[in-house]
Amino acid sequence: MISGVQALLACHWSARRMQRYLDADPSAPLRPAEVRRLEAHLARCERCAQLAREHRLLRQSLLRWSDRHWPDDGSLTRMHGVLDQLVRDGLA
């Protein structure tokens, strides 16, 4: 009973930090001790390890969209033209 509750709490603790762990964003870093504890939990909890795999798969899938989420050369050229014009007008 107690070990079941402990496991549940460990999963909850890990789930709360999973996004920060996977993103490693500089705005919200985990402490090294938290990283070690989370990685140790992922190594022995298949349910949380599966959750991490699903998050990684989702990120990889969305990352592929970024290749298609890119302005065409015409848009880039026009915007560079706007900036060039601003600079020329500013120097005139």
């Binding site: 592929r64 970024s66 848009s75």
Partner: protein, 170 residues
């Protein structure tokens, strides 16, 4: 400003859902940034530009779309903002075929607040702080919305896609 033009266009496209509107927003952003450059301290130029883009887009949005949809439920048929497709390698094509329809539907069903954060961070590759600047919300709000968006999409992928994936859930 010049190195950030591509990023500004991508982010503007995520915010507006249209390349034409994105160009309008970025053009106006460049003009405003140029006019304000003397008061810019030179630090965090990307964050500064993203903040100007957010304000510019809000102004353009008010002028352009007085009938903006406010209820997420009314957006259920909307699709995420995509650009022109590039050729994929064979391995990518397999995974893409399995997931794409389910993923697009799942993302399209998200509340726009959640969908925008997901696209800014996972597609446009902004940091939490940059996404926060773009949306004018705290970093904690970005993290919370991102977590909810990913959970909702992940649950839908789990339901629809796991049967198709080799090495799926046990």
């Amino acid at each position: 400003m010049e190195p950030e033009i591509g990023l500004l266009l991508r982010v503007a496209f995520t915010l507006t859902g249209s390349w034409a509107d994105a160009e309008d927003a970025v053009q106006e952003t460049l003009v405003r940034a140029w006019n304000a450059v003397d008061s810019f301290d030179g630090a965090h130029s990307r964050a500064w530009l993203l903040t100007i883009l957010r304000r510019t887009n809000a102004n353009l949005h008010r002028r352009r779309r007085p009938d903006v949809v406010a209820e997420p439920g009314e957006c259920s048929g909307a699709r995420p903002a995509f650009g022109t497709a590039r050729p994929l390698n064979p391995e990518d094509q397999i995974v893409e075929t399995i997931l794409e329809d389910t993923l697009e539907r799942a993302v399209a069903r998200l509340d726009p607040r959640f969908r925008t954060v997901l696209l800014l961070v996972d597609v446009d590759q902004l940091s939490y702080a940059e996404a926060a600047d773009t949306l004018g919300v705290p970093v904690g709000t970005v993290m919370s919305r991102l977590s909810r968006a990913r959970d909702r999409v992940r649950r839908q992928l789990r339901g629809c896609g796991s049967d198709n994936r080799s090495g799926g859930r046990q």
